[in-house]
Amino acid sequence: MNIIFKIILLFLIVSMGIMTYSLFNDEAGESDESELGIDDDDDIPSRMVNVDGQHAIRLDIDLQEQSGIKTRKLEAMEIREELDAFGQVFNINGLVELRSNLNKINGQKNIVLSELAATNKKLKRLQVLHKEAANISTRQLQEVEAESITHQARLKTLNSELTDVRTEAEQAWGSVLTAWVIDNDTDTFEQLLSGKNVIVTVSLRAKDTLPEQTEYVYIGRNGNRILAQKAVYISPAIESDSMLQGETYYFLADASMDKYRAGMHVHVWVPQTSESISGVFVPESAVVWSSGKPWVYTRNSKELFIKHVINSPVELDEGIFVAEGLQVGDKVVTSGAQMLLAEEYRWSIPDEDDNP
């Protein structure tokens, strides 16, 4: 065969081979990105920077505006740590009954006392008459003496009745409330009677204890802490709540505000420390949860955002109280915190296109 023909043949085979390979081979040349599984978003540079050993997100001002990031200066707040407890407005019927019993006994006692005084006077006179003139019979004298002894015995009985009632009352309501009734602390009791004040039985959970020197707690009917009112400490209660099995105490509260009526259940917040803790109030919209902890983002300079963990947060109605880690005046992100979190963890956003 002609040599040129052979060369052509060889060339033909080689060129066909190369061409076929090249055309069937995707990897050749610059391919369309989607062909290699590279998504639109794969080449976005990271916005994470390192500032003094801390991870921070850098966003220029325009971008912050575009993505709707808003910040708010943190304001100071003082709170006391509080325990949650249950309360029930105390029914003072028992106390009123006690009072009326006491009044009855005291009335009787007064009668007996005056009778005894009269008898004793009479006895004295008869004794003189019997001794000096003996114009009084011994029998008469003995009768009056017996009368006096009877009165004394009745007085003793009434006194012991009073003691019993007191003991009973103290057993039921404690010494302070009993004293209000028995020792005639008229003002306090009158206010209870008039319904101006109420006694609230506060029951703590089994695990909780009332902090020492607690002077007051806060109570409220609707669970709103902000509207709660003060109730002043009276004394420990004698009976515990059979359901809660925790400590119980009496507190005195102004009934007019929340229109308390006997038997009503109320929420109770018990301050745990006598001194308040100062910190800042973080609005709810600033908090994001990640890895089991609450975090907030603060704007540390015009373009830098840093994430802070919140340790031992105190949850309030519209946000949380933070004692440590954040300062008054810190600019906390109130709109866009989740977006910043997503930016920080962008690597972990699942690519919805990759299906096994």
């Binding site: 002609n2 023909f5 052509i8 043949l9 033909l12 060129s15 066909m16 190369i18 061409m19 076929t20 055309l23 069937f24 990897e27 050749a28 040349g29 391919s31 369309d32 989607s34 290699l36 599984g37 590279i38 998504d39 639109d40 978003d41 080449d43 976005i44 916005r47 997100i57 971008l63 575009q66 993505s67 709707g68 949650d84 609707n222 669970g223 059979s242 809660l244 709810e284 949860w289 990640s290 089991g292 902890k293 609450p294 866009g336 989740q338 977006m339 910043l340 997503a342 930016e343 963890y345 962008r346 690597w347 972990s348 956003i349 699942p350 690519d351 296109d353 990759d354 299906n355 096994p356």
Partner: protein, 1027 residues
């Protein structure tokens, strides 16, 4: 056999022509009634089973629901594999069946298996539902409603009760996915503080409510005369009457539902939220049925929507009917293609007239084109393949061959008839027509079969490429086969009828007369310097080949649909509210881009929807004004720029069809994927972490990502059994309390008019916002005391899983990576070796190394195998056609040079190599081989039949005789393609454009080769033996 066909056709020419006319008429009727779509059905044969599992976490969904469903469907016939995803509140099991299975049978089998499954599911979990059988492109229309006067609840009601039922009655609509708005339900919103006061638990309220709203049938009474139905009324049917339902009676005092709860119509906790141009809205996505025609169905749907227009206007509701309308693209494409075909057709006629210079012959050639294409379309329609862009593409690229068939025949008959008239003793016309027909017939048949064979690998392509391009291959093959039939029957019949008595000029047509001398001169020149000619050819080939490796590739070119779909994905656990807030920012930025007409967004998912994403996921419909392809690209670039500036999101921008194709591709998009299978999720997590560590230490790997990392915020409530015992509580009571308070329990239903609303017991909204609300949830003990949930459970914030994936019913955790340079194999080898040696896989766990590149490599190997097989078939056929091994090899020299023109065309147009371009090359190969066979066999004819000596004169004579048909074929093909190739970056031209430009470029080089180089090479090296 061929001879008898031709003879029959000439003899019964009247019958043949009437049949042809009938076929033309019926074919035109059929085509005008057939709907047009963009793509064939390209999704794999899959069935998606969804189970709504309200309130369950992803872990619970996986164990309690997904596993049950997977167990139920295991071992089905034709089942390829099963994969599943369990996310909060939803289980999705996707069952992939083999390609050759029947869609309806698959669904039937699955439904049968799912029948009894409810018994195995936890109470409150609804029966698994098979997602509606939707068409591949799925969306027919996206519409939305907004209003300044109406609440979102009213809007949602209008969508659910007015618009959706009407749309579902339109034939071809499978489903309507509704996003956004507030689903109205009657809510009994418990005030937990009041429960404390009254000593009641959450469960007491749920129980009372369910007893009050349970509707029971009451039967009938019957006596000897009549049967009287019993009907009970007066039970609570609205807010007021429900408020009077008694909850507890104590010392003669009643406590009513209304005392502890607010009872009102309120919004169900939402699955999704939506906006149109940042306004809160209800967005509806209309899904087409499998096999439904987008154009027809969307027009019908629009007619249905028109009915509401006036009423809505009066009610102050704004209906936006075209947030996205895929039909726009089809209409625009159709308009464009029709225009091009008209221009192309005009070109064809002009060329035929110019070259043949005889109206009759031009007519015969021209009539063969519609006849062949219409017959092919009819066969396709009979096979159940709808018309779509791919089918049209196949027909368009077959045009060259079809024209060639007709021209070769007509031109030869015409020439022989002219020669016959010059004879002193002319033969009969029948004989001349028959002989002239038969003279070229043999090689035409071989050429046709060879070209058909070249297209066979396209039919064997697997996966998406196969489903998309097989109809193209099929329509191409059918068109050339039909063209062969036409050439065997109609063309000889018409030639006989029209040319028998026609006045035939004995001279060549003027254009040929004008070209021939120049051609002769060139041919003599090139055959006198064969080495120069061949080396120039080789030089061009080398140049072309050196370009090929630098060409980029893509699956499909950018389609210019005038619409973009943007996906954004934030961190799992992002609320709907935040997704919408971020989305509104994006929407405002999108609207600032010139050319953007409307933007709508939805976040989350629709109930029963095909998409199953969490609240962190959003999709935007960005609809454009009517823009050119270039302008659309600018908008796309600007969209991407806007998105990349937005912090905290992953995003993707696609046009709709690419998006659908993307969603359809089963398998991985990432080049490298390592799956770890096992039982213990924590173990799997730590294993993939270790694999990710290894990957990070390999410099070639980049962008390493865990598929489903645990990181979603999760509030874990762990019951303390000893505390439960202390209070005498059952775990179920506590769980139910939590469920009622935070998930809500649907306790019954009430009707208002013909609308049915759920009655749900749930906590007040402000008591469902903070972890503290969970801690303080009141639980009533059997003894009647009220305790907080935290007294009996350990409540802690942890990180949960967004989803749990299964593959083949096994838990799988994946880590994916991209490859920096293209050396995938060495990366895979290193990775495999290090993973196996460095990581100790506990029993029951094992890794799998896979990825998009690996899958693609396997697919490519298969394609190469089929191509080789068909290549061998082609060689055999060429050998049979030519009968000489030497001449066959010489002929094959054609191919690289012909393809070189195509390569230059790619470079000139700046296109990337797509599957469409590959089809262009294949077509080019076919046409070139065909022309070469025709030339070589004509030389053979001259030497063998006409007994000419093989020298330069014979070579010039043969080439001269083939000149008109080769030139005509090339010009007709090229000119028909020209309008499509020109400005191909526009609607309807995207896929066919690159194909067309390759064919045009290739036609140029192939024609030069066939007309100049082939005769030269043949003259120098070819051998023809006289018989």
């Amino acid at each position: 056999m061929l001879a008898s066909f031709v003879r029959f056709s000439i003899r019964f020419r009247g019958v043949i022509i009437i049949l042809a006319l009938l076929l033309l008429a019926y074919g035109s009727y059929q085509v005008s009634n057939a709907g047009l779509d963009i793509f064939p059905e390209f999704s794999p044969k899959s069935v998606i089973i969804q189970t709504e599992s309200p309130g369950l976490s992803s872990e619970q969904v996986e164990i309690l629901v997904t596993q049950q469903v997977e167990n139920a469907i295991g071992g089905l016939i034709n089942l390829d594999y099963v994969r599943s995803e369990s996310i909060q509140g939803l289980s999705i099991v996707t069952v992939i069946f083999s390609e050759d299975s029947d869609v309806y049978q698959n669904r039937q089998l699955i439904s049968e298996r799912l029948v009894g499954i409810s018994d195995n599911l936890p109470p409150g979990i609804s029966q698994p539902v098979i997602a509606p059988l939707a068409s591949s492109s799925a969306t027919i229309l996206t519409i939305g409603i907004t209003s300044e006067q109406r609440s979102l609840m009213e809007l949602r009601e209008i969508a659910d009760w007015t618009i959706v039922p009407r749309l579902l009655s339109v034939p071809g609509i499978a489903d309507v996915n509704v996003f956004g708005g507030d689903v109205r339900q009657l809510q009994i919103q418990i005030d937990t503080d009041k429960l404390h006061q009254f000593g009641l638990g959450v469960n007491d309220v749920a129980l009372a409510a369910s007893q009050a709203t349970g509707i029971r049938g009451t039967g009938f009474i019957e006596n000897s005369n009549q049967r009287i139905t019993l009907s009970l009324s007066g039970y609570p049917v609205d807010e007021t009457s429900l408020a009077k339902v008694i909850l507890k009676r104590e010392r003669g005092v009643n406590i009513y539902l209304g005392d502890v709860a607010e009872i009102k119509m309120a919004a169900e906790p939402p699955f999704s939220a939506a906006t149109i141009m940042t306004e809160p809205a209800v967005v509806m996505m209309v899904i087409g049925q499998y096999g439904a025609n987008t154009l027809t169905v969307s027009r019908d749907a629009e007619i249905a929507l028109k009915e509401f227009e006036e009423v809505f206007q009066r009610q102050g509701i704004i209906l936006t009917p075209d947030l996205f309308r895929p039909a726009n693209y089809i209409e625009r494409s159709l308009e464009n293609i029709t225009e091009h075909l008209m221009i192309g057709g005009l070109f064809v006629i002009v060329i035929l007239c110019l070259f043949l210079f005889n109206l009759r012959t031009a007519f015969i050639s021209a009539i063969a084109i519609p006849l062949s294409l219409l017959s092919a379309v009819m066969v396709l329609l009979q096979l159940g393949i709808n018309l779509n862009v791919m089918v049209l593409g196949g027909l368009a690229i077959a045009l060259g061959e079809v024209v060639d068939d007709a021209i070769i025949d007509t031109e030869n008959i015409f020439r022989r008839l002219r020669q016959n008239r010059l004879l002193t003793k002319p033969r009969t016309v029948t004989e001349v027509v028959f002989d002239a027909s038969m003279e070229v017939r043999g090689s035409v048949v071989y050429a046709t079969f060879i070209v058909a064979l070249v297209f066979v690998p396209l039919l064997t392509l697997g996966g998406l490429a196969g489903r998309l391009f097989a109809p193209l291959g099929l329509s191409y093959i059918l068109a050339i086969m039909m063209s062969l039939v036409v050439a065997l029957t109609v063309t000889p019949a018409l030639c006989y009828m029209l040319l028998e008595k026609a006045k035939l000029s004995d001279r060549d047509p003027p254009l040929i007369r004008f070209i021939k001398p120049a051609y002769d001169y060139l041919l003599v020149l090139s055959s006198q310097a064969p080495i120069l000619t061949i080396s120039t050819t080789l030089m061009f080939c080398v140049l072309g080949l050196s370009i090929v490796p630098t060409l980029g590739g893509q699956f499909l070119p950018q389609l210019r649909e005038g619409h973009y779909i943007v996906h954004t994905s934030a961190l799992p656990g992002t609320s709907l509210q935040e997704s919408i807030r971020m989305g509104n920012g994006l929407t405002r930025n999108f609207l600032e881009i010139p050319g953007v007409r409307s933007v709508s967004q939805w976040a989350g998912r629709a109930e029963r929807g095909a998409d199953t994403f969490g609240s962190h996921y959003s999709e935007f419909e960005v609809d454009l004004e009517s823009l050119s392809g270039k302008e659309q690209q600018r908008v796309l670039d600007q969209l991407r720029e806007t998105m990349s500036e937005t912090p905290g999101i992953l995003f993707e921008v696609h046009n709709f069809l690419s998006e659908r194709i993307d969603e359809t591709i089963s398998g991985y998009q990432s080049p490298v994927v390592v799956n770890v299978y096992g039982k213990d999720l924590k173990q799997l997590d730590s294993l993939v972490q270790s694999i990710a560590e290894i990957m990070r230490s390999i410099p070639m790997a980049s962008d390493i990502q865990l598929r489903s990392p645990p990181g979603t915020p999760l509030l874990q409530v762990r019951l303390k059994m000893d505390r439960l015992a202390q209070w005498g509580l059952q775990p179920d009571e506590v769980m139910r309390s939590v469920q009622v308070a935070f998930e809500g329990e649907t306790v019954g239903r009430i009707n208002k008019g013909n609308r049915v609303f759920d009655v749900t017991v749930i906590s007040r909204e402000e008591k469902r916002r903070k972890p503290e609300d969970v801690r303080k949830l009141p639980v009533r003990t059997p003894e009647g005391s009220i305790i907080a949930l935290e007294d009996i459970a350990d409540i802690r914030q942890t990180a949960g899983r967004y989803n749990i994936l299964h593959h083949g019913a096994q838990r799988v955790q994946s880590v994916t990576a991209h490859v920096e340079d293209s050396d995938l194999e060495s990366l895979m080898n290193e990775l495999k070796q290090r993973v196996i040696t460095e990581i100790d896989f506990p029993t029951g766990t094992y890794p799998e190394f896979t990825g998009a590149l690996l899958e693609r490599t396997q697919a490519r190997e298969q394609l190469i195998l089929y191509s080789l097989l068909s290549g061998i078939g082609v060689l055999l056929l060429i050998y049979i056609a030519i009968g000489s091994f030497r001449n066959m090899l010489l002929m094959l020299l054609n191919i690289p040079f012909a393809l070189v023109g195509g390569v230059f065309a790619v470079v000139l147009t700046g296109d990337l190599i797509s599957v469409g371009s590959m089809v262009g090359f294949v077509t080019l190969f076919g046409i070139t081989v065909r022309n070469s066979i025709m030339l070589v066999s004509h030389y053979q004819y001259l030497v063998e039949v006409e007994k000419l000596v093989w020298d330069i004169n014979t070579a010039i004579k043969g080439a001269n005789e083939r000149l008109p048909s080769i030139l005509m074929t090339a010009l007709v093909t090229a000119l028909a393609m020209l309008p499509i190739a020109f400005d191909s970056d526009n609607a309807g031209r995207e896929i066919m454009g690159p194909m067309a430009s390759i064919i045009i470029g290739g036609m140029a080089s192939s024609t030069i080769l066939n007309l100049l180089i082939m005769p030269t090479v043949m003259l120098k090296f070819g051998k023809f033996k006289t018989v």
